[in-house]
């Protein structure tokens, strides 16, 4: 049951991402991307990472995408008649490199080996103990990084006199 659910969610994620990329209207692209991130959050939950799934929904689908929407509205970019899609010449290298990645993927799948393992189930408690025990320094560094990002955004966003 969960296996089928994974494949269904994977298809939803990929299709929503393709729509998001090909959409020329930025607002529609962002809404498609929110759909994709919700499906990805469900996949994270299936992969026994409930906390990461919650953060994916709260931070990615909630905060980051709404920030994108705000910028689109501030800059007044939501006019589909002015937007233009990149031409065929621009898509060509993208499609070519994507083909290379997918081909190497097929090669990897054809030579895979090793028996499947059944690891112990992961709990949120293990996650929290590892996060604040072994990776406590990383938490401090991340908080410093967020502080620097706030200072940088304030510096870039201030109004200049001239």
């Amino acid at each position: 049951m969960e296996t089928y659910l994974f494949y269904i969610l994977a298809i939803v994620t990929v299709i929503a991402t393709i729509f998001a990329i090909c959409e020329k209207h930025p607002v529609h692209a962002i809404v498609y991307l929110v759909t994709s991130f919700f499906a990805l959050a469900a996949i994270f939950y299936l992969l026994s990472a409930p906390l990461v799934a919650m953060f994916e929904i709260i931070i990615y689908a909630g905060a980051v995408m709404v920030l994108f929407l705000f910028v689109v509205m501030i800059l007044d970019l939501g006019h589909p008649e002015h937007a233009k899609r990149p031409g065929l010449f621009h898509w060509l290298p993208a499609v070519l490199l994507g083909e290379v990645i997918l081909l190497s993927l097929g090669l990897m799948l054809s030579v895979r080996s090793g028996a499947p393992v059944n690891p112990p189930a992961l709990s949120v408690q293990d996650f929290a103990v590892t996060l604040f025990g072994r990776y406590g320094v990383a938490i401090e560094i991340i908080s410093m990084q967020l502080l620097f990002a706030v200072v940088g955004a304030l510096y870039l966003g201030r109004r200049r006199k001239s």
């Binding site: 990329i21 991307l33 994709s36 990805l40 689109v72 800059l75 993208a94 393992v117 991340i142 990084q145």
Partner: protein, 103 residues
């Protein structure tokens, strides 16, 4: 593990190549370019979470959380820069922002 790890990796690689294609193709709109970076970072998170589920270690989830924190910092800075550049040049075309010097 509900699905074999290679299938998770296949999904992550498809998402990553879609993100790469988005970054390469949309040079005419900085916001779509940033969306492509988001998609690629999500694919990386999927690899971390899949690995942590495969080997029963939570370290992968910790790193996924680090990626989320890093992305929120990166997006706030990048969007502030987009607003700043749009205020100067009145455009979001990435090809227009090719000079360091002021006019």
């Amino acid at each position: 593990m509900i699905v074999p790890l290679p299938h998770v990796l296949v999904l992550a690689a498809i998402l990553f190549s879609l993100g790469t294609g988005c970054v390469l193709a949309w040079s005419s709109n900085v916001i779509m370019l940033l969306i492509g970076i988001e998609i690629m970072l999500n694919a990386a998170m999927l690899v971390f979470v899949g690995g942590s589920c495969q080997w029963g270690m939570v370290d992968g989830q910790v790193f996924a959380l680090m990626i989320i924190a890093m992305t929120s910092a990166e997006v706030s800075l990048a969007l502030a820069m987009v607003v700043y550049l749009h205020r100067r040049r009145k455009t979001v075309d990435a090809d227009e922002f090719s000079e360091l010097r002021d006019h």
